[in-house]
């Protein structure tokens, strides 16, 4: 389910519009991940707090969103562009790939909250596909 040229343009356009709010959305998305899917807190047991809205969660959400923005810039070859991030997730972090889908869903929820007019069904499908491709690229080195 690779992105068409039009969908790549849609993704770049929407992420451009989102840029001023990307930190908020990233922080909020990770907060929602641990709120809606509490089992995901298992990856953050080493933090002082992994509860929704806590400082470490928000900070890490911003970091992750930064990675997503970086991936937008590498949208034409995500596999190659995300190679080192994939190695990190495969050998060090070892996040079960099912969680990428869960976080993607939380990101989509936040995007639709903050940009209800712009997040049309057409934008939704393009961004959903992009996040799925991103997740696939992150899984590349898993096995």
């Amino acid at each position: 389910m690779s992105l068409s040229a039009k969908q790549k343009a849609t993704v770049k356009d929407f992420f451009g519009k989102m840029a001023t709010r990307s930190d908020d959305i990233g922080a909020e998305a990770l907060s929602r991940l641990v709120a809606v899917y509490p089992q995901t807190k298992s990856y953050f047991a080493h933090w002082k707090s992994a509860s929704p809205g806590s400082a470490p969660v928000r900070k890490h959400g911003i970091t992750i969103m930064g990675g997503v923005y970086d991936a937008v810039g590498k949208i034409d070859d995500l596999k190659a562009g995300l190679l080192s991030l994939s190695e990190l997730h495969a050998f060090m972090l070892r996040v079960d790939p099912v969680n990428f889908k869960l976080l993607a869903h939380c990101m989509l929820v936040c995007m639709s909250m903050v940009f209800p007019e712009e997040f049309t069904p057409q934008v939704h499908v393009a961004v959903d596909k992009f996040l799925a491709q991103l997740a696939l690229a992150l899984c590349e080195k898993y096995r």
């Binding site: 929602r32 709120a35 929704p52 869903h105 929820v109 909250m113 049309t120 069904p121 939704h124 499908v125």
Partner: protein
């Protein structure tokens, strides 16, 4: 038996008393058909569903979206007996409509997003968690009679 906190019960009742069924139902089903195009396989008699524009303007899709959303009413009224409430509907979806139950999960995700577009920041993480827990119970119940 599913255990609900008071917050979850209140939240579910609150959500369903406030949402506009005529907006959210169609919006959710429309998103599902656009974002997960394979779900169109179940609506062959709805006319031209070839692209987003066609789906978004389709009256049958809109009416069906309202119907599906109202299908959640029985769960809202019967939160302690959701599985039993959906016995018949589950059989129907299995034996008559032959819907892959994974699609219920996809529609549930689209419902969460449809409400998020309407409510904005009022759709807090706690409310989202309660709503998605409720939907996952309905999704499970709708799949329970498949064989």
């Amino acid at each position: 038996m599913v255990e609900w906190t008071e917050f979850e019960r209140d939240t579910i009742k609150d959500i369903f008393s406030k949402i506009d069924y005529d907006v959210v139902g169609p919006a959710a089903l429309t998103r599902c058909l656009v974002v997960y195009p394979w779900t169109r396989r179940y609506f062959g008699n709805f006319g031209a569903l070839y692209n987003a524009e066609g789906i978004m303007g389709n009256e049958m899709v809109a009416n069906h979206g309202k119907k599906v959303l109202h299908g959640l009413d029985r769960a809202v009224k019967n939160m302690d007996h959701i599985k039993e409430s959906y016995c018949e509907l589950s059989q129907l979806h299995s034996d008559q409509f032959h819907v892959d139950p994974d699609n219920f999960r996809l529609l549930a995700d689209c419902l969460a997003i449809a409400i998020a577009t309407q409510w904005g920041s009022a759709f807090t993480p706690d409310i989202q968690a309660a709503f998605q827990k409720f939907l996952s119970v309905v999704v499970f119940s709708l799949g329970s009679q498949y064989h």
